[in-house]
Symmetry: C2
Subunit: 432 residues, 2 copies
């Protein structure tokens, strides 16, 4: 229906994802052409290691000497960046390609969360698209859904489970009742955790995704300040067990919302009720919940990463460009994007789960409750269990809502007491 | 980024949905213009009853004498049809509007499931869009997701809970342990069921939605044949109770899949395992699951109907047109749509839940099992409970997988036996 055209693609980066995309585009060329009524060709590819055995033969003429050639080539219309990382080659390639009026498709969440605002402005000036569906929850078309399917809505809150590795670990700690490190090893063996899974486990990965989702949901610039970020490495199996007994699951949640005109962004493990929609999202699955007007609550769930879902996301971006669906990268034009101030977590109110391992002696409980009361934290529920080692006890407290800064101060004070064995654990209870 | 243009809209039908859309477009005009970089105006409205108090004042100049004026007017670009029904005014308006090269947005599932193929061809010829996101699960942008977000995928199966009224009834029969008719009355009072809810309860509504989803998912023409359609009015509270005991929930499911090159379409209540994703979709919520390659399983959930979600869907359609995102109504062009033959349910294999109310006398059980065995149905599980009225018993059977025609024949034969009190109930067990 649109005028027939021809697009040349260049894929830069031929790792697991790049190779899967290459094969998918070759295999499904006919159906992609039919659906978009536009022809295309993978004109060039580029990779660090050209000699690696990839199990397929890529014609020699497609290979570029260097990825730096891509922006200079006149016969490239769409650049697919699969190098990764916020700096270096990926940054250079994407900025240069857009300057040379080439569309860009990328799965690079670090790059977008760091330079997304500049890139969006540059793309707008050069009248090209930069698309990044694969950067957030590959198997869930959340970016396209925010920009198109839910375009009518005023979003209030967007949150979910955004990292498959950490969700796999929490789910399996729960299911098999084993420690964090044991499950991490299992995840590595199964390919669900990278050899260096740091950014998946410390919340870096989810933080980038939350920043990108916030900008899209609230039409604001990417906000890097005041984000409360916690990973999952401090969670003990006993906490998961306790949560279960109390009717909760522990999940690693990324959340973004507007409260009284201010932006709140959080990335942390927390307790959520067992009947919460997210508590049943297990294994490597991701899920995103959008709350807005007039739609109410919309939930999307699917695989978060892996070659298949990521390819699905990349191809949907490519198709959007092929169809000539020219769009602002963040839904509205640069000059219409707002600067929304953010607030940090200190004055936010939460119920908390607190676990104290203490010497089982007289006066301990009264001392604990005194410190809590001094910090304006009141007890909703308290369970004391003897520990295996004699003379020790574990105290589990569910608090009423309290300011985050008060609970943190309270934990510090409790930690200083000589009857407290380890640093007390606390986890917020999210009402989602 | 696209060239600035101006679109005139005409809304035909100002019931609950039409009025909500009118207000939403007026209130959110600025943000819609910003997001699409195109101006628009609601130029005309039309409704059967012009004098009804709608709580807002619509300028007199916007009112048309008759909806039949719409296609003739040169200053209308997008027609929003909210009359409803597959025939009569709605059909006339939509066909005529497209002939006159106007884009159409509609929430009319009956019209699309009946005349969608003709309308799509006509729209293609006239180079206009016909969009119908609101026809299927308003709060779930499933149509846009199939056409864009999941465009890369080869769908194998699409299914879900597609009617809020029947899901509300089944959920509440379960929760409150009351009869179908009691919950139906409650649903009517709460506005979750229309005064004449026939098409919601007998599966007509879901059938239309399944037909539309099949066409989009499998790039085929709408297939009206061989659809197994059952409503929920024959479900007793005791069946829901029994299902619970056995680890299942009863849900009304619409399903479409390709099996050995043939299309299967089903609309029926069935038992699904409690840990199935759909078993927790309660109340008026809808959910759709798409299984495809390379994405795996993608799940979307949200409110199915009501003014808010429907408005969200209508506005996303309007925005798609405003952005100039001209698309084939069913994803590919008319000549690329396939004719896929369908098969009926008779030779499909299912495990079944069977409930027999019988006279509690000697030889009954052996007679039942004999009939079952004759029809090649073997018992996986059997529970016999005495009924309150003496001399009667209830027998619950879970069968191994059997051909549907055999189970139906078996039920007929059992019904003829004089020790069987009522027609035996049977419900399929879906492995979803």
């Amino acid at each position: 229906m649109t005028k027939k055209k021809f697009f040349n693609l260049a894929i830069v980066g031929l790792g697991n994802i790049g190779l899967n995309l290459y094969k998918h585009l070759i295999k499904n060329k006919k159906s992609i052409v039919e659906k978009n009524n536009v022809h295309f060709d993978i004109k060039y590819v580029s990779a660090k290691n050209k000699k690696k055995n990839r199990g397929i033969s890529i014609p020699r003429k497609k290979w570029l000497q260097s990825y730096l050639d891509v922006p200079k080539l006149n016969d490239v219309d769409i650049v697919i960046e699969l190098i990764g990382g916020a700096e270096g080659p990926a940054k250079k390639l994407v900025f240069e390609s857009i300057r040379k009026k080439k569309h860009v498709v990328t799965a690079n969440k670090s790059l977008i969360s760091k330079y997304g605002d500049q890139l969006a402005l540059l793309a707008e000036k050069n009248k090209v698209n930069i698309e990044f569906e694969a950067a957030v929850a590959g198997g869930i078309p959340i970016i396209r859904t925010l920009k198109e399917g839910l375009v009518a809505n005023k979003t209030k809150k967007i949150y979910g489970i955004l990292n498959g590795t950490s969700n796999f670990i929490l789910t399996n700690m729960d299911k098999m009742n084993v420690s964090f490190s044991k499950v991490l090893n299992k995840a590595k063996k199964l390919g669900y955790a990278e050899s260096n899974p740091k950014s998946d486990l410390n919340g870096d990965d989810v933080r980038s995704k939350v920043q990108i989702l916030s900008s899209l949901a609230f039409n604001c610039f990417i906000n890097k300040k005041n984000i409360n970020q916690e990973g999952i490495n401090f969670i003990d199996e006993i906490d998961i067990k306790n949560a279960n007994k109390l009717g909760y699951k522990i999940k690693h949640i990324g959340l973004s919302e507007i409260s009284e005109g201010k932006l709140i962004q959080r990335v942390n493990p927390c307790l959520i009720k067992k009947d919460s929609r997210l508590s049943n999202v297990n294994g490597v699955l991701n899920a995103v919940i959008v709350e807005g007007e007039p739609i109410g609550k919309s939930i999307l769930q699917g695989e978060g990463a892996g070659a298949g879902p990521t390819t699905s996301a990349l191809v949907s971006d490519i198709c959007s460009i092929l169809r000539g669906n020219l769009k602002y990268p963040f839904s509205v034009s640069h000059k219409k994007r707002k600067k929304i101030n953010s607030i940090d977590i200190s004055n936010q109110w939460f119920s908390n789960y607190i676990r104290l391992d203490v010497l089982d002696k007289k006066g301990v409980l009264s001392s604990i409750t005194k410190i809590m009361s001094k910090n304006k934290i009141s007890v909703k529920r308290l369970i004391q269990d003897p520990l295996k080692r004699k003379k020790y006890a574990s105290i589990i407290i569910i608090s009423h809502k309290a300011k985050n800064k008060n609970i943190e101060k309270c934990i510090d004070e409790l930690h200083k007491k000589n009857f407290v064995i380890n640093r007390p654990k606390f986890l917020r209870i999210e009402e989602i």
